[in-house]
Structure formats: structure tokens, C-alpha cells
């Protein structure tokens, strides 16, 4: 079990190096990368925005209830903003990305494998890593921070909706405290996390698709593995990055 895990991590690491090596040539064709940003990013917008809104609204409710006990309702904006920017935004977006865009990437590449399209490219002296994998990987890496930013914005709007419009928190206090308390370090932490999760989720998705068994069952299993591995690794990485940023 442990040996299998180490072997898998090793294979994914080698795969990452090969994909990065092909990312330069892939970037030379910006249209295909932009197309993949659209596929992974724009097509995930609805689910990201809806989830962001509801997560923000729940934060607003729970945060108001908690802060009211200490008479600090005005700090609701700070609590929601920090919670979203540092933790919930990157993590929830990554989990949603793995479920929506990651599975789409895996099944698309896996089906290309099953229908001999990747082999046909190899036979035409075209490296599928350059033509198929690298643009999709880059598309995911670029899309993730953008999706996280949108999730955070909509989430903050949701928290404001509940806190200010419903519970009566002073809007001036809500926004001014948020503006004053959120520092560059907090934003940096969110950006670093979103980039790391973008690399992780995109890499897992394209790797599982590329190495899928060329059968219907194989593609199905690879899609399931994408969600499981991406989710677990995202949460593990989140802990490690949080500990690193807190200096613990």
C-alpha cells in the first residue's frame, strides 16, 4: 500500500516535469490555452458563484451569531473576509474544481486514450503531452486563482447580505473594518494556496486521464480517482501551507 502510494507520487512527479517541459511550446499557442481556461474556468463559474454565495451567507449567519455573544458584530466583515480569503475560498473552490473541471479533464483525455486519438498523435510524431495535456494543465492552473477571487467576492457579498441587510450590522463598520484588517499577507496566503491547489488539481486530473485504462470502466475509475486524490491532497496541502504561513 505504502509502496504503491510512493510509486504513484513518483510517477506523478515525473509526469509533472514532462508537462512543465512541454508547457513552453504550449504557451506559444495562446489560443489553445485560452480555450482551456474557458473550459476549466468559465464553465465552472455558475457552480463557483452559487457555492460562494451560500458559503458567504452561512458565514454571515454563523459569524453574526458567534460575534453577537461578545458584542462584536461589527467585526463580522473581518471574520468573513479572512475566512474566505485565507481558507474557504481556495479550499472550497479547489474541491468544486476537482468535481466539475477535474472530472471533465480526466474523462476527456481518458476517452481520447480509449479511442486511440493519443496513439494516433504519437504516430503522427506529435507529442500528446504538448498538444493535449499541457494546454489543459495550464488552463486549470490559470483558471483556479481567478475562480478563487470570484468565489471570495461573491462570498463576501453573501456575508454582507446576511450581516448588513438582514441582521442589521452597520455597513460602514462592516466594510471599514474589513478594509483595515485584511493585510497583504492574508491575500498572499490565499493566492499562494489557490495557485498550489490549481497545480495539484489540474495535474491529478490530466495525469489520471492520460494514464487511464483505455476502457469504459478504466475511464470511470480514473474519473473517480481524480476527485478522491484531488480532494485529499488539497486538504493535506491546505494544512501544510497554513502551518507554514503561521510559522508553526
Amino acid at each position: 500500500m505504502i509502496v504503491t502510494c510512493i510509486q504513484r507520487v513518483g510517477r506523478i512527479a515525473v509526469f509533472l516535469v514532462r508537462v512543465i517541459a512541454q508547457s513552453g511550446p504550449a504557451l506559444a499557442r495562446p489560443r489553445s490555452v485560452v480555450h482551456q481556461v474557458y473550459n476549466a474556468g468559465a464553465r465552472s463559474l455558475i457552480v463557483i458563484m452559487l457555492s460562494g454565495l451560500f458559503v458567504g451567507m452561512v458565514l454571515g449567519l454563523q459569524g453574526f451569531d458567534l460575534l453577537q455573544r461578545f458584542g462584536s458584530e461589527d467585526a463580522l466583515g473581518v471574520a468573513a473576509a479572512l475566512g474566505l480569503i485565507k481558507e474557504l475560498g481556495p479550499v472550497v473552490t479547489a474541491l468544486l474544481f476537482a468535481g466539475r473541471a477535474g472530472t471533465a479533464l480526466t474523462s476527456e483525455i481518458g476517452l481520447m486514450r480509449a479511442t486511440d486519438q493519443l496513439t494516433a498523435m504519437e504516430m503522427m510524431a506529435v507529442d500528446p503531452l504538448r498538444y493535449v495535456v499541457a494546454p489543459r494543465f495550464l488552463g486549470g492552473v490559470i483558471a483556479m486563482p481567478l475562480l478563487v477571487a470570484i468565489f471570495n467576492l461573491v462570498g463576501l457579498f453573501g456575508a454582507q447580505l446576511i450581516g448588513v441587510q438582514l441582521m442589521g450590522v452597520d455597513p460602514g463598520a462592516f466594510w471599514s473594518q474589513t478594509q483595515g484588517a485584511v493585510e497583504l499577507n492574508d491575500v498572499t496566503e490565499g493566492i499562494v494556496k489557490s495557485v498550489c491547489f490549481g497545480v495539484t488539481c489540474s495535474l491529478v486530473a490530466v495525469h489520471e486521464g492520460f494514464t487511464a485504462e483505455p476502457t469504459a470502466q478504466g475511464v470511470g475509475l480514473a474519473t473517480t480517482r481524480t476527485v478522491v486524490i484531488s480532494s485529499v491532497v488539497t486538504l493535506l496541502l491546505d494544512y501544510m501551507l497554513t502551518a507554514a504561513f503561521l510559522g508553526r
Partner: protein, 269 residues
């Protein structure tokens, strides 16, 4: 006779502990259509995968254009593959590109032709397979026969010296079958391309093949012209050529005794 385009010597290939080839020898000579025949599961497609460097042999040597395929690094292997074209059993068209872009794909990726020249080349190739009018269709809009013809246009767009056909006749209606057979013969005759056709369709291969290899149990059991094979006294060859259900290739997959399995052992009753 001129140097063979493909030379296979003592080929052994094992996968998952199962031996696919046990010392296979064969040659493909330039300008000829060479057929590789054999019952299903005998390793015909695997032989193509070995010849094209998709997998490496366990033992033995495969030379293509004088180069040992298993020793080539990726850039050299790609350089070798630029001299080949391959028609896949299912066409393997890229599903996100239309017919025109599918045929243009190898040229766009491997050569830097002006758009006007590329367009002329692709239209010429599509015209040759009778599908110039289908240039804007997507692969999902094509029938099986049309997809096979588009794949053939794509396989020939780089003007390869060697064309490899993997089961080109499978699942085609009689008209599409006749078209593919005619195209394979015409390409060979007009362009002087060396061709390997892997198939188990004896009748179609007899029409076009100059030389045939019959594979069974991991090695070549017979070779020669289609007429030589038809006249062969070997039982394995006769069974295959005349389509007999039972013979050296048994009808039944190895299994325990039928009566025992159906009725159970005496002590079980």
C-alpha cells in the same frame, strides 16, 4: 532484391507473463503490399505496435528503414514516424477538429507550410478519397466508412514511404469496403508506397496483397503469395483460409470436461 523496409528477426514479446511472439521472423519489401493475417488474438496489432515503436520487444530485433526501433530515443523515433502513415481500426480522428483540420493536423504540427499551400494539399488528399465535400463536417457526423477514408487521407498527407493499415476492412458495408480496397491498391501503385495491411479478411487481402504472412501461436506458420497460401497443405493454413470453425485453432477455449461441468462429478449428485 532491394533492402527490406522492415526486417524482424527472432522477435519475442511477453506481456503479463503471457508470450505473444516466440521467435517471429518476417520482412517487408519496398513498393509492395504485405499482408499480415491470422486469427483474432494472435498478435497482429501487437506486431504493428512493436514495428512502430509503441512497445519494445522482450527479445529480438526490429529494423525499420535500417534503424533498430527499440534503440531509438524519442526525437529519432518521431523522425522515423514522420516517414510512416498509419490507418487505425477505428479511424482515431481527433474529435474536436473537423475533417479538414484532421487531415491538416500532421502538416500543421510537423511542417510549416503557407496556409494556401496547406489548403491545396488537404483538398487534394480529401479529393483522392472522395470526401472533398465533407471538409467541414465533424467526425461525429461521419459514417464508419467515411471516417476510415478521412483517416486514410490524414495518413497520406505527409507523403509517407510506409503506410500501415490496422484492420482497415472491419465493420464496413460492401461499398465502403470496395472503396477502401481500391484506395489501398491505388495508393500503392501510383505513389509506390510500401504497405502493410493487418487483417483477417482473406478475400479482400487476396485482391491486393503481393505477399502474405500467416501468424498463429506467436510465429509465422506460412508465408507467400495469396495463391501460395491457398495451395498450402498445412492444416493450420487451410483452416484459416477456408474459415473452418475447428482445427489447429480449436473452437472451444480450454475448459474442463463438458459433461463433468454440466452434470457434476458422480460424488456431487
Amino acid at each position: 532484391m532491394s533492402e527490406p523496409v522492415i526486417k524482424v528477426r527472432g522477435l519475442e514479446y511477453e506481456v503479463g507473463g503471457r508470450s505473444i511472439f516466440k521467435g517471429l521472423d518476417c520482412e517487408v519489401h519496398p513498393g509492395r503490399i504485405t499482408a499480415v493475417m491470422g486469427p483474432s488474438g494472435t498478435g497482429k496489432t501487437t506486431l504493428l505496435r512493436l514495428v512502430t515503436g509503441q512497445v519494445n520487444p522482450t527479445r529480438g530485433r526490429i529494423e525499420v528503414f535500417g534503424q533498430d526501433v527499440s534503440k531509438l530515443n524519442r526525437p529519432d523515433l518521431y523522425a522515423l514516424r514522420r516517414r510512416m502513415g498509419m490507418l487505425f481500426q477505428n479511424g482515431a480522428l481527433l474529435t474536436d477538429l473537423d475533417v479538414f483540420e484532421n487531415v491538416a493536423f500532421p502538416v500543421r504540427e510537423n511542417a510549416y507550410l503557407p496556409e494556401a499551400v496547406l489548403r491545396q494539399l488537404v483538398i487534394t488528399k480529401l479529393h483522392a478519397v472522395g470526401l472533398r465535400g465533407a471538409a467541414k463536417l465533424m467526425p461525429s457526423e461521419l459514417s464508419g466508412g467515411m471516417a476510415r477514408r478521412v483517416a486514410l487521407a490524414r495518413a497520406t498527407v505527409m507523403d509517407p514511404e510506409l503506410l500501415i493499415y490496422d484492420e482497415p476492412f472491419v465493420g464496413l458495408d460492401p461499398i465502403s469496403l470496395g472503396v477502401i480496397v481500391r484506395l489501398i491498391r491505388e495508393l500503392n501503385e501510383t505513389l509506390g508506397i510500401t504497405s502493410i495491411v493487418v487483417s483477417h479478411d482473406v478475400n479482400e487481402l487476396s485482391l491486393i496483397a503481393h505477399y502474405s504472412y500467416l501468424l498463429s501461436s506467436g510465429c509465422v506458420v506460412a508465408s507467400g503469395t495469396p495463391d501460395d497460401l491457398r495451395a498450402s497443405p498445412l492444416e493450420a493454413v487451410r483452416q484459416f483460409m477456408s474459415g473452418q470453425a475447428d482445427g489447429p485453432v480449436p473452437f472451444h477455449y480450454p475448459a474442463p470436461d463438458y459433461h463433468t461441468e454440466v452434470l457434476g462429478k458422480r460424488s456431487d449428485r
